[in-house]
């Protein structure tokens, strides 16, 4: 049973990791707690489902379109709800509230447009599994874990090797200086949001497929857990997000399996707090020296 629980935990953790990657990227550059990330994740999953069910599109086409559409949504959120605030150097909290407003708006919009009931998400990939004596691993579980690792590696390479990646790193370090160096900071930030939203869509669709259901409220907890995972691993650090996600997933599962199912979320947060007390910048975070 323990092995099965570990598999459950790692899979759950991978779903958190997927969502956390997009979150930590935006956070790393903007130092913004983006509350709309969870809602965008839900939106991406919904669009994919609607494209498949209402328009009868093939999964991969629907997936591709939903990635692009949701990416565009990410850009729109940045341009409409956040850019004006950056221009006026508003305090970070204001941007946070603005993303909350976007989240409420988007979530209720989805409910009005497509109803609030839980919808079935067809499982279009790999319903097979490998059965061992006392546990089994499904292909989809492996796919989810691999996807989060691949995305993490891919993004890390992208940020290290490409010119845009360099620009993103520069902006993350110091926006003012980046501007002086001739980087179109606004474009970079919008691009980051685009990336973040596409990652959220991948996460949303994978999770929707794994649990075979989507509902307008799914983004709320997912966003919270993604936030926790990102912080746990060290904000802005991609491997940290994956590590944090998996850790949270595993600890929740072990807590449920061996302690008490009712307290599962509390234990996950408890571990988060405990880790931060020992290592205040997250597991893989670098201590930031405040310059005077």
């Amino acid at each position: 049973m323990f092995i099965q629980q570990m598999i459950n935990g790692i899979t759950l953790g991978s779903t958190y990791a997927l969502t956390a990657i997009g979150y930590t990227m935006v956070f790393g550059i903007l130092e913004l707690v983006n509350f709309s990330h969870g809602t965008v994740y839900m939106f991406g999953a919904f669009i994919c489902l609607i494209l498949m069910s209402t328009f009868g599109l093939n999964f991969f086409i629907a997936f591709g379109i939903s990635i692009v559409l949701t990416g565009a949504l990410g850009i729109a959120i940045d341009r409409i709800a956040l850019l004006p605030l950056r221009k006026r150097n508003a305090p970070k909290v204001t941007a946070l509230i603005s993303t909350i407003g976007v989240s409420i708006f988007l979530q209720n919009l989805v409910m009005v447009l497509w109803g609030s009931e839980t919808k079935n998400f067809p499982r279009v990939i790999a319903t097979k599994h490998i059965q061992y004596d006392s546990f089994r691993i499904s292909y989809l579980q492996i796919i989810i874990l691999v996807t989060s690792l691949v995305l993490m590696l891919g993004l890390t390479l992208f940020i290290k090797k490409t010119k845009i990646g360099k620009a993103m790193r520069a902006t993350a370090q110091n926006i003012e200086v980046a501007k002086l160096m001739g980087i179109n900071v606004d474009f970079i930030i919008s691009f980051t949001f685009f990336l973040g939203a596409t990652l959220a869509t991948v996460a949303g669709v994978m999770v929707g497929m794994y649990y075979q259901s989507v509902d307008p409220m799914m983004g709320f907890m997912a966003g919270l857990k993604a936030f926790s995972a990102a912080v746990l691993g060290g904000i802005g650090i991609l491997p940290g997000a994956v590590l944090g996600g998996i850790l949270i997933g595993v600890s929740e599962t072990i807590a449920t399996g061996y302690i008490h199912s009712g307290y599962r979320d509390a234990i996950a947060f408890g571990i988060l707090i405990a880790v931060l007390l020992i290592k205040p910048t997250g597991l893989l975070g670098k201590a930031v020296q405040k310059k005077v």
Partner: protein
């Protein structure tokens, strides 16, 4: 400059207050209308159930108005979204109490919203008729509180009998949603089941609305080797549980409560809920024309089948309308008349209020066979 803004804002606020104040205290100027308010969650977690209230009551309203209305006047429904939040529910309650044109309130959906609002309705003297609140304390809050559903004190023991005697299972694993409905269901179920020879091998809870992953609970339950898994939850989580059971390769018979009678369960979970047993107080059978008529009208109007919440809301409005018809437009008289109702023939069975304004409805057992709900007993 700052002071000017403050003064301006205060003036705007006071004007706004008085405006809403005047708007809120209107009495029925249109004497050709009888107004009933419906308060339920129309946004948020339980929006789909609020929507069930809305569709069902609107259907009943149409029927009533097409057959002459109430004492010749048109029945009008007003909908108020309580977001399933205790504060909203109480605010709405006060608003409705103040609005003298409202003769009765159908609401709320959840017990916590209903309980929070009850004190306002009681002190304001307005009937609060909940189709679905199952918390034992609800009708104890006052004489104006009515409910139209079996409390779990009645339903859960029937479910226990179903599991132990009809399904012939002894070792039972229980999964329940951690809210007042789930907990009362679990408590009564366990008490009754152990009384008639069942053994409870596992008791696991989850927090509703924010739990998607049941794999850890299910793996744990699998380790206790139960004969059957009893689930006290709504359809969305039950569906997910059934699907994840199949994913993990565990095969157990499933049993649940009347909240599961909803075609959405089958849409969501497909063949993973094949064979599931459930109790219900609403099921169409050929001999019952009232029920089959309701089913057909609902399907024709909304393109989907009604679930038990819709059925109960439909009856609730029917009973309230009957009370208004007899008692007239006085809130106190309506309350008295409603309490007297007995042997009301509705789609959820023959309904009578007892002295606590609770009802006892007959229940049946269903089983999902070939992707449809079939009557078992």
């Amino acid at each position: 400059m700052k002071k000017k803004i403050i003064v301006l804002l205060s003036v705007i606020m006071i004007v706004g207050l008085i405006a809403t104040g005047c708007a809120g205290s209107k009495t029925s100027t249109d004497t050709n209308e009888v107004v009933v308010a419906v308060t339920a969650p129309f946004t948020g977690d339980y929006a789909q159930y609020g929507n069930a209230f809305k569709t069902a009551t609107e259907l009943k309203q149409k029927e009533i108005n097409e057959t002459g209305g109430i004492n010749g006047k048109t029945l009008k429904l007003e909908f108020y979204d309580d977001k399933n939040d205790a504060k909203e529910a109480s605010n709405i309650a006060q608003r409705l109490v103040d609005d003298k044109s409202v003769l009765g309130v159908i609401g709320n959906f959840s017990s916590s919203a209903s309980l929070a609002a009850a004190s306002v309705y009681e002190s304001g003297g307005l009937v609060q008729f909940s189709p679905t609140a199952s918390h034992t304390d609800f009708t104890k809050q006052g004489n104006y509180m009515f409910r139209n559903i079996n409390t779990q004190a009645i339903e859960a023991p029937m479910a226990a009998d179903m599991v132990v005697n009809e399904m012939n299972k002894e070792k039972i694993a229980v999964i329940y949603i951690n809210n007042d409905w789930g907990i009362t269901a679990k408590d009564h179920f366990i008490e009754a089941a152990t009384d008639i020879g069942g053994t409870i091998v596992a008791e696991e809870s989850f927090i509703g609305g924010q739990t998607q992953d049941f794999t850890s609970i299910l793996t744990k339950i699998n380790g206790t080797n139960p004969d059957v898994i009893f689930i006290a939850a709504f359809y969305s989580e039950t569906g997910m549980i059934a699907q994840q059971l199949q994913q993990l390769g565990y095969d157990y018979p499933l049993a649940g409560l009347s909240a599961l009678y909803n075609e959405e369960l089958i849409k969501l979970a497909g063949d993973t809920v094949e064979g599931l047993y459930l109790t219900t107080n609403f099921f169409p059978s050929e001999s019952d024309t009232i029920v089959t008529d309701f089913l057909n009208d609902y399907k024709e109007a909304y393109g989907q089948e009604p679930d038990q919440f819709a059925a109960v809301a439909y009856d609730t409005l029917g009973m309230l309308a009957k009370a208004i018809e007899v008692a007239g437009e006085d809130r106190v008289a309506i309350r008295d008349e409603l309490a007297k109702i007995s042997d009301y023939e509705g789609v959820t069975g023959n309904t009578t209020f007892n002295e606590n304004r609770d009802v006892i409805k007959t229940m049946r057992i269903l089983q999902i066979q070939d992707g449809k709900f079939k009557l078992f007993k």
